[in-house]
Symmetry: C2
Subunit: 316 residues, 2 copies
């Protein structure tokens, strides 16, 4: 099986018939049309075996997460995902691996009507790089727009996926543990929520490096301070149950694998934001405020700053 | 030096001030505006150490080629390059390597007014994946448009870069050998020529897998036959001089690293095509015709088909 057959068998079918490119998969480049007034968002994220996932990780899960992680970046811009390009470096043509990887990738892309329109395969140590293309009407959500007085809102619950990392190879699993594993293996990109909050939120970021790190990125990019209240951070019953409250809070502050979104929303739009989230059946929790300070603080109920040492994921 | 510092020092400067994105490098995704009536071309190409370049390869050369190879795909569509995203997987923070790689990458992107607007870095075995974004007015050049009776034209000379592979570690080099090495290390993407041939050529492809393989791709995609005349294939004096004529022809038929372009042009537009190439000071040579057959043939002057065994680069 050469490169062309491999692409035809496993990846060409991930181009959706209802969302084809102008020039299909298989030419020198993919070509897409852009509706008038739309801007294009572009993000790239790479997963390397042994760094971002274990060598024995389920290929379906790796495929799903590769898409979800990238889609989360599109969500953070308030954009609508439309196309993806895959660069796949594989050590050999393990057809079972390819079939399962393609299935997981397709499962996630399908959830978001996202069409795989091009890419590249090469021989080498296993690595997956996905380029995600989205479109947005007018100016997107960014990290730079937070305003003093905004409320800091976060979607869903935090720390679950970090909690999963410690029990990936455990068996059997109870219901709480299964919940955590699912949060790690099948993260959801908050696309609809973010698209609806475009024009309502002043800024957004996805929590990929951890709450403290990513809230810090908003503070730095927007040149504001951020004060968080630890006890208001949404933590799932499963995470508290498996790890206890103290450890659960640590995961929630520093874990990035849930791919939830942080938004800053001005007070006059808070009700609207909650109403939108309720319609999407997504929990949206106020966890702090934007201040005229210059740094991130996270207060315990004893009024102590527990964010002095930010513990986000360091890529290097 | 963490990921953010590394990007700031070596890659953020490759965003051109005269071609910035709408949302700059550093947010969750890059955002670009698209002029009305333009379509967007997207291509991804990955270089893996030990597969696409030697472990001792000059990082400047690797950076330059990573861009050139991708730009060649944009050229094959008749598009104008505008933006690039880089996914860089590196085993460590070798600052000298990063500086030189960034310099080579920037040198090539600058030649084509192309702005680096985003990307991703990760730890792992050295691999470089570049996503190239171009724009094209209306429908692009593709592989599928070749018409029976079209002339097959090729830019520049073929086989030089393949000839270079055998002497990469040789020293000292004579003038002919230096020419070949330069053709390998600093390939040029035929952007201007292709943009000018948009609407004139019926189809195009870049020669990345070798002349026979890539002409075969046009034949298959366009559902036509192609007859080439071996003696008309443009071969540089340097390649013939270093390797002799027989070996030089082999390189020209099967070598892909020159990144020249094949166009098919209807006869009524041939004069215009030659005139455009002359203005760009690029040699454009007729090497065959599109037939109503179904396969690729390459005739020697003794009228024998020497393409029976296509010898293009196999990715796997």
């Amino acid at each position: 099986m050469d490169e062309f057959e491999l692409i035809k068998k496993y990846f060409a079918p991930l181009e959706r018939r209802d969302n084809p490119a102008l020039v299909r998969n298989g030419d020198d480049a993919a070509v897409i049309g852009v509706p008038q007034g739309k801007n294009i968002t572009l993000s790239v994220d790479t997963l390397v075996e042994g760094v971002h996932f274990l060598p024995n990780a389920s290929p379906e899960m790796v495929g799903f997460r590769a898409a979800a992680i990238n889609l989360s970046d599109i969500a953070a811009m308030g954009a609508e995902p439309c196309y993806a390009l895959l660069s796949l470096v594989i050590p050999n043509n393990d057809e079972e691996w390819l079939q399962n990887f393609s299935s997981g990738l397709g499962e996630c892309l399908d959830k978001y009507n996202c069409s795989l329109i091009g890419g590249d395969t090469a021989r080498g140590p296993l690595a997956i790089s996905l380029t995600m293309v989205g479109s947005v009407s007018g100016y997107p959500l960014t990290r730079t727009g937070a305003k003093v007085g905004d409320s800091i809102l976060v979607s869903g619950t935090l720390g679950d996926a970090s909690g999963a990392l410690g029990i990936l190879n455990k068996a059997p699993l109870d219901a709480h543990e299964k919940f955590l594993i699912k949060r790690y293996e099948r993260p959801l990109a908050r696309i609809n929520l973010s698209m609806s909050l475009l024009g309502i939120a002043n800024s957004a970021i996805d929590v990929s490096d951890g709450l403290l790190a990513d809230a810090g990125h908003i503070a730095a990019a927007s040149d504001v301070g951020i004060d968080l209240l630890a006890s208001s951070i949404p933590i799932s019953e499963s995470l508290s149950s498996v790890y206890g409250e103290k450890k659960a809070l640590e995961f929630a502050l520093s874990g990035g694998d849930d791919y939830e979104l942080i938004y800053t929303v001005p007070n006059e739009s808070l009700a609207e934001a909650y109403s939108i989230a309720a319609k999407e059946a997504i929990k949206l929790t106020k966890i702090g405020i934007v201040t005229d300070g210059s740094r991130l603080r996270c207060f315990s109920d004893e009024n102590q700053d527990i964010a002095l040492k930010t513990k986000g994921y360091k890529h290097f």
